[in-house]
């Protein structure tokens, strides 16, 4: 089943293309990380998918419902955590959850039970009886998350869910998100790559309103695995460097000094061949190997590469 599907979804503000022909499919019960730098079109996408903004053209389906003007069936199936959740300051946390529960027409007893569960989930049981006006930003964020869960949504949209949280709060929210995917699809827009690495099953990268790539995190790593090999020997590696210079499926061999240690770095023009042949060459060199590593980029490096290239690979 597909939780989110978009076809050429676009939003233009005059000549500015905030979102340009987004074609996306997000399956059920995954955590989808929507990555992009500031101003890439992440919040615009969330607004379009939740019906808060009307597309210039294209269409979208969420939880089997066509996204459009005031589709109340859609609203009953989704949850939304805005980037900066705002509440009625004069309400207490419990008042707010009761208000949301009443909108979903839940019986009073169910509202009370669900509110207690959710407040406990985010460690707000005691603060639940206090006015929201006195909440810290982190507490507001946590209240924002649980108000979006009141109706057990099928698709949960979270716009920068961890941006206002301290490291402990962030860890707890990410654990919560990982737990939630058993019952919901989570569409999480963020620019925090470590969060994506930690909880997301799939990643979409957007920049300047255009979707650049969609993939699983594992595939993304595989796809962007660097073709650079790093080799360290106890002995002087200059003779081996000369050997590598003569090999046509390698390029740019060089010795660089990292933290005072000389490291022989070489780029493979044919990665598969390098994987097979390079260890043999090292063995034949007679040198004492201390490190042999294929450059594994962090998600941040991949992200930077994708965004700077801006191409689909």
């Amino acid at each position: 089943m597909t939780a989110i599907r978009t076809e050429n979804l676009s939003k233009y503000y005059g000549p500015i293309k905030a979102l340009d022909n987004l074609n996306l499919e997000v399956p059920d019960n995954v955590v989808f990380g929507f990555l992009g730098p500031n101003g890439a079109g992440k919040t615009t996408t969330v607004k379009l998918l939740t019906g808060f903004s009307q597309p210039t053209h294209g269409r979208a389906e969420v939880a089997g419902e066509t996204v459009g003007e005031s589709n109340l069936k859609l609203q009953s199936k989704i949850g939304l955590l805005p980037d900066v959740p705002a509440f009625y300051e004069w309400m207490t946390g419990r008042d707010f959850l009761r208000f949301i529960g009443e909108i979903y027409q839940l019986p009073a007893a169910d509202i009370k039970k669900r509110s207690d569960e959710l407040l406990e989930l985010v460690d707000l049981e005691k603060a639940g009886s206090r006015r929201i006006g006195g909440y810290s930003r982190g507490m507001r964020q946590r209240l924002g998350i649980i108000q979006a869960l009141m109706n057990n949504p099928r698709v949960l949209f979270m716009d920068e869910p961890t941006s206002a949280l301290d490291p402990i709060g962030r860890r707890e929210v990410l654990e919560l998100i990982a737990h939630l995917k058993e019952s919901a699809t989570i569409f999480m827009s963020t620019h925090i790559l470590s969060d994506v690495e930690r909880v997301c099953d799939m990643v979409g990268v957007i920049d300047k309103g255009r979707l650049i790539t969609v993939s699983t995190v594992v595939e993304l790593r595989k796809k962007y695995t660097r073709s650079v090999f790093e080799i360290e020997f106890i002995e002087n590696s200059k003779p081996f460097l000369e050997t590598l210079k003569k090999i046509h499926w390698l390029a740019e061999p060089a010795i660089v000094v990292e933290s005072g240690t000389p490291v022989l770095r070489v780029r493979a023009l044919d990665v598969d061949r390098a994987r097979k042949e390079l260890p043999k060459l090292i063995a034949l060199s007679g040198l004492t190997l201390t490190r042999y590593e294929m450059g594994a980029p962090s998600l941040e490096e991949i992200f930077m590469e994708i965004v700077s290239n801006g191409d689909k690979r």
Binding site: K47, S53, S70, Q75, A86, Y88, M91, D95, I103
Partner: protein, 252 residues
């Protein structure tokens, strides 16, 4: 209007907890109580103040005069209060983001707008009722008898006019994110229509004429302005309709 009841409940709670009901109530009550008191004791007040050296002959006040002065003051203050109360009710929710969370739930835009006007209207009606009760009571007690039915009719016309002021302000509150812009334009339009309602013939079609009608009732005159009443009701409905249409078509 899906979701109207929880939204209305929230609006009523807001009127109470943010002291809006108290503020409007106290202001209306102030004029409801002080108008007949001031009229009755004006000669004594002047005398206590030491007088001006001249003898001023003040005719004894009448019940009608007291109710007329009260109605005139409440009509003017009511317009200001209506604009102040309604100018931020949607604009501020859009600006600070509370509208996003509320409207991400299964509630219609119509319910969102109507809950607001009903909640604020109830505050005004409760305040107007209490103030008018005191005003009439003090007037009859201190000054003299007055036509109760005419006073009720006058209050109903003031109430309808204030609902019109609320509706027009709500409309602009849904158009602009700035409550100041919403309030400024609404107040400008209300002042404009008040000016136009003073023009003979043409003025008979403007909502401001409802206040003149109320005054005529108190004076026992037979003037009536049904066209203004019908246009006011149509204007209220139109403002509410376009308010929710604006909310539906604009980015929240």
């Amino acid at each position: 209007m899906i979701g109207i009841f929880p939204l209305l409940k929230k609006e009523l709670m807001e009127q109470l907890r943010t002291y809006k009901l108290l503020i409007v109530g106290v202001i209306f009550l102030f004029f409801g109580i002080t108008t007949p008191l001031t009229l009755k004791y004006l000669p004594e007040i002047i005398e206590l103040a030491g007088g001006s050296g001249f003898e001023i002959a003040i005719p004894p006040p009448t019940g009608v005069q007291s109710l007329q002065e009260y109605a005139g003051t409440v009509g003017q203050i009511g317009v200001l209060l209506a604009v102040l109360m309604a100018m931020g009710s949607i604009a501020n929710e859009r600006k600070n983001g509370t509208a996003v969370i509320t409207l991400s739930k299964p509630v219609s835009r119509a319910a969102f707008v109507n809950a607001k006007i009903i909640g604020t209207t109830l505050t005004f009606l409760a305040s107007l009722f209490a103030a008018s009760l005191f005003c009439y009571g003090y007037t009859v007690w201190l000054i003299g008898d007055a036509d109760l039915l005419a006073f009720i009719g006058n209050n109903l016309l003031i109430a309808l006019f204030l609902i019109f002021c609320l509706a027009i302000t709500l409309l602009f509150s849904s158009v602009f994110r700035s409550s100041l812009a919403a309030g400024g334009i609404s107040l400008g339009l209300l002042i404009g229509q008040a000016g136009l309602s003073a023009i003979p013939r043409i003025g008979d079609f403007f909502p401001g004429k409802l206040l003149s009608w109320g005054n005529s009732l108190l004076m026992g005159e037979s003037n009536n302005y049904w066209a203004a009443l019908i246009i006011t009701v149509i204007s209220i409905i139109t403002c509410l309709y376009f308010s929710q249409r604006f909310l539906s078509h604009r980015d929240i």
